[in-house]
Amino acid sequence: MNEYQTIAAGLLSSGTAAMVIGYSEGSAKRVRPVFFTRPEEASTLVFDSRCVQNIAVYLTKKEIRTEGKIAIIASLPVMRSIIQLASEHQLSEEKIIVIGITPSGEVKQFNGFDALDAYVSSTTIEIEARYREKIEQVEKMTLTERWNFWKNELSACFKCYACRAACPMCYCTRCTVEMNQPQWIPVPSHTLGNFEWHIMRAMHLAGRCVDCNACAEACPLGIPFNLLTKQMILQFKKDFGGYNPSLKGLNILSSYLPDDKENFIQ
């Protein structure tokens, strides 16, 4: 067994963890999330570039929360999600063990959030060049061209909400699209309803999105709505010098400092 499999098996056999969440081989050369409770299952855990689904999404699910202490095989985006969720008081430290695998393949076990926070803070969210280029292209468009670009892309959406379901930050038990007194966002998947949905979702992720790409990977129609969240991250970089999920720092969009350079709120 390799290092993370051995750690996972050890945590289960000692009873330190009740369940390990990770990835195993799935269908058609894909990987799938797995929920192991027996140490002998750990040898089928896999971790490679196919593991793009963000499995931090399961940590806030009621079905999983009741399982006891959870160990999770975590890529860097999963680790970032855990810190972001913790900073939003959605996870309790004593119920999670993080078996982190860094981008260089180093396995690091984190038993508390402080150590994980320190590791996550030492990294930076970088938007991949191919997305930066696409965003630049869209930004260079005239207003009409940009409107048509998004109209064309977003009108395909049939509102299966796979983007929302795949996102660890979309943990609200009642989403804005489900509010119907009044109905804020139109339910039908017509162009207007789709615009409102995707813009609302992007806005709710401002300063929170960890750029894991799970939403876009989940979309069965390949709609590039992740350009919206990626653009915001680039904008934060320009305006605030970037951000990283953190337990110590301030959440950019929900914090206020008296010496803020903008004075409209004073």
Binding site: Q53, Y161, E178, Q183, P188, A218, P220
Partner: protein
């Protein structure tokens, strides 16, 4: 009533061009990684190599967002303006797979159950389905276990099977199919002796639906509902790409004194689908919602309409962001021994 003809490969364009003179044609179009049914103007636009479209042909007859009527408040009264069904054009669904064609049977049954839905029925009455047999399949396909098959004829008006020569075997299956043949009779020639079966994809049978139904009747308390659905994210991707899922939601959109009432696709996988106004949800967990999806397709619908609500197209498995593989899960349910009912037996 099956009449077989040979359609030369060059005649395919002639058939298409004849049809487009008087009808709207919807066919698979590839954009990026996604192939879906769009209205096309020429045969060149139609995708060539696709095992299955991402979205099913259902989307042409059962719109994802259908305006049922407009309404207007006027002088203390409400005026209802129903859609003009006469304006629905004659349609051809070109290039759908036999599994999609068969699933229209399921949609027809739902939209004609206790109430004849005139919008769906009008569109259905004006549609002709020209399907293409499958000469390739992938590991998600399981039509042969779900009462369909790569050359299954049910639901199609004309079924075309590509032969090794590049020509097509054309099976005229219905009166609508005959009407199309009569529009351009010269291209329908005497068939060659080449067998249809030799030109179809081989798709192994993994279970039989009757056995599955019997097993499901004992499986209400199976632990598999929980273990299989643990990774389910609760989105609607499976239902929205499915050719036979027919659940919908009714929505009113009002602007001032007028508005529209629409029928929108919905999914039993959403927790909101069954949530009551009180907040109580009779299907509280994803496991219960997963059970409903499987039971509805393979137990309840066979009881109500005599056939399954699944034709084995495999789209739900391909689309699932968490790799829920329906073929694999059904096979596991057939061999399940975890439900108390089965243990007693």
């Amino acid at each position: 009533m099956i009449e077989s003809y040979l359609l030369q490969s060059s005649s395919l364009t002639k058939l298409f061009n004849k049809l487009i003179e008087t009808r709207h044609i919807y066919a698979p179009v590839k954009k990026g990684m996604v192939t879906s049914f769009n209205r096309v103007e020429s045969l060149e636009e139609v995708a060539k190599d696709y095992i299955q479209t991402t979205i099913s042909a259902k989307s042409i007859l059962f719109l994802r967002n259908e305006i049922l009527f407009h309404y207007k408040q006027e002088n203390g009264d409400v005026k209802i303006m129903e859609p003009d069904l006469q304006r629905i054009p004659e349609l051809v669904i070109w290039g759908c797979r036999p599994c999609d064609a068969k699933s229209f049977k399921s949609l027809h049954s739902v939209f004609n159950w206790d109430y004849k839905d005139i919008i769906y029925s009008s569109r259905e009455a004006r549609s002709a389905i020209i399907s293409f047999s499958c000469n390739q399949a992938d590991e998600y396909c399981f039509c042969t276990s779900a009462g369909s098959g790569p050359g299954h004829t049910e639901g199609s008006d004309i079924l075309l099977t590509k032969l090794k020569s590049g020509d097509y075997l054309a099976e005229i299956l219905t009166e609508k199919g005959q009407l199309i043949r009569d529009m351009i009779p010269a291209i329908f020639e005497t068939p060659s002796s080449e067998s249809k079966e030799d030109n179809l994809a081989r798709i192994p049978i993994v279970f039989d639906t009757a056995g599955l139904k019997q097993k499901l009747e004992q499986a209400w308390n199976s632990e598999l509902w929980i273990t299989q659905s643990m990774r389910c994210l609760g989105c609607g991707a499976c239902a929205f790409v499915c050719p036979s899922c027919s659940c919908f939601d009714i929505q009113d959109e009002k602007h001032g004194k007028e508005g529209v009432r629409s029928r929108c696709w919905d999914s039993c996988g959403f927790s909101l689908f069954t949530r009551h106004t009180s907040g109580h949800n009779p299907r509280e967990t994803q496991a219960e919602r997963w059970r409903q999806r499987i039971m509805h397709k393979f137990s309840y619908l066979p009881d109500q309409q005599g056939f399954t609500g699944c034709t084995g197209c495999g789209r739900c498995s391909r689309a699932c962001p968490a790799d829920m593989n329906i073929r694999e899960h059904l096979a596991a349910l057939i061999n399940d021994s975890t439900s108390p009912e089965n243990r007693v037996a």
